[in-house]
Symmetry: C2
């Protein structure tokens, strides 16, 4: 029977919400084969204070004691360079997430990506503290009479802003989160030309599991697959798979698993954007890597590259169990529920996956 | 108060289904300001016999005695040139609808648009009888390892097949139904270069009301707006509006109003494709034409050009009441229902429209 030691697996882009949804989905991080989770701050209201980020982490650790949580702030005018330095000195956060206003779930407090200059003092402080800037890389649409930005070109239109940020802050660690286009993949490769060692990477991209499966045809008519950024065209998907399986240290895993109550995914107007992949994150990935004969590349993608980029020393984290991928088929359930009213539909319901994950305790 | 006599209004692409849904929506053709409706044959099973098309017409006439129904066959191997001649001689049909297999609701019995040659004897008979070929102009996707056809390029990919058909049957009347792309608009204009008189048009396109409003961003997350062909990009919408308001006789109205029970539009997997616009068809159009200062072009689009293309003589149809557009605001209802369980959500629920329609009886 085939087994692969995937090391200390990381999902560097996780939404676990709060309240009852949080109670349901936080334990599924480990069920999905993930040891270390980088937690998104887009609660309502967004997380912009030290007290709240510490309290949120405590809540999550109670819900999932075996999971290591890396926390983040939500980029907004509520942040200050002083707060960044303070949070970094206490090791309370590992990065700051930037949402362009209005592009996805709970992003209304976000920023205008046409002009980041108001936040340059924040970025300067982050660069000094070696914190990561997590970019939701989409330009917002301003409507039909405006900039002709739509869900398909929103990411590509953002790429010049990414390049400018890197030029202005060459030592700031930046992640283009959940990248979905061939254009974005090519930009990340171009920025990293000449970079070979993982520790030299300054600009990386996370890739989700679901974007390795989906194209526009899969979410047209299937709101379960609707997320932001939307899945794009077949050539984009091919580029994402090539990037994920490339072994390049600037592409690593961030699921962007984004649970919503099923009733918010099953309506004719105003479906919430987000695909829930947490509970089977690693098996989804293994299936794709296997089908491209790249299982030996999976460990770098889900473990080594993310840990290196974030500068995580395994000896210093709370839990460093290693995930062992092994060949055992399982069927994706139709839904997961807390039995008290919250129902979430996982990605690819009823489909069969070839792989499962077990744990090898750290020494 | 502004009034516009729109003449004998036509909706040249109507789905009224059968059974209880048919009872609910058929009377709404006239409520929407439409006098003459061209009825699609994609029932289950599709309409391919004289008996069924005659019975279907009788059913519809009972439900809506003041509406004139033009009927069609579903192109399939069940048709024969003899049947075409027979149906034409009895004036039972005005055209034949061609669905590429698998692209939309009830199209599984459709044809392979990569090769129409099996149907050339049918088209020859139709050309002789002056019947219209109604094309759902999309190439089907054959999956990721295949032809890279997806919902965005499916129509443009079909255009060479349209041109070939016109070359092979230069006197066959062909409609590219519900066209959604700038590429399609340009192809129709190119084919009609040199054509100025409505009676000389051989290849036309219908345009829906909803595609004059929608782009991809409007159906991403709003299954109420999901239809096939899907609404495309802002530049495509602009091209459609320009075509509709151009006064060119080869662009005319076909709503493709496609009702589905609300529960089939409100689910997270397998949403039915179709936008229901029937009950306010003309007011939706008037709103767009007004906002482009083109209300004086509306009559051609909804009446004269379609009647001309189909060769309909007003004196010979069952009912030739004229629709009078007048300035009276109304709010689109949230839903329409038969009170017995069928609920349909109309396009643009709760939004205000500026125009209403009343009738002027024919002499």
């Amino acid at each position: 029977m085939s087994e692969f030691n995937l090391g200390v697996t990381c999902d560097m882009h996780v939404h676990v919400r709060d309240g009852e949804m949080c109670e349901l989905v936080t334990p599924t991080i480990r069920e999905g084969g993930v040891s270390v989770a980088y937690i998104m701050p887009n609660l309502q209201p967004p997380i912009t204070t030290l007290d709240r980020v510490v309290a949120y982490k405590q809540t999550l650790e109670k819900l999932a004691p075996q999971t290591t949580f890396l926390m983040s702030f939500y980029l907004s005018k509520d942040l200050s360079p002083q707060l960044i330095h303070q949070a970094a000195s206490q090791n309370a956060i590992h990065g700051v997430k930037c949402y362009p206003a209005g592009v996805t779930t709970n992003s209304s407090a976000g920023v205008d990506p046409n002009d980041f200059s108001d936040f340059y003092p924040i970025f300067q402080a982050m660069q000094e503290e070696n914190l990561v800037l997590n970019l939701h890389g989409e330009k917002p649409s301003v409507g039909e009479e405006g900039n002709d930005i739509h869900v398909l070109n929103a990411e590509e239109s953002f790429l010049p802003a990414l390049k400018k940020l890197h030029t202005d802050f060459p030592n700031l660690k930046i992640i283009l989160e959940h990248c979905t286009t061939e254009a974005a993949v090519n930009t990340i490769i171009e920025i990293n030309r000449g970079v070979s060692k993982p520790q030299d990477v300054k600009v990386a991209a996370t890739l989700t599991a679901h974007h390795l499966y989906l194209t526009i045809d899969d979410w047209a008519g299937n709101p379960i697959n609707f997320c932001k950024p939307v899945a794009k065209l077949p050539r984009d998907k091919r580029a994402l798979i090539a990037a994920a399986t490339s072994g390049k240290p600037y592409f690593f895993f961030g699921s962007d698993s984004a649970p919503h109550p099923l009733q918010n995914k099953s309506r004719h107007i105003g479906v919430c954007a987000g695909v829930y992949t947490q509970s089977l994150a690693i098996p989804y990935l293994a299936q794709i890597f296997e089908s491209h004969n790249a299982l030996e590349k999976l460990r770098g993608f889900v473990s080594d590259f993310g840990l290196s980029f974030y500068g995580i020393e395994i000896t210093k984290i709370k839990n460093a169990d290693e995930a062992i991928l092994y060949s055992r088929k399982q069927v994706v359930p139709d839904s997961i529920t807390d039995g008290k009213g919250i129902v979430v539909a996982p990605f690819m319901p009823k489909e069969e996956l070839n792989w499962s994950v077990k744990w090898k305790a750290s020494k």
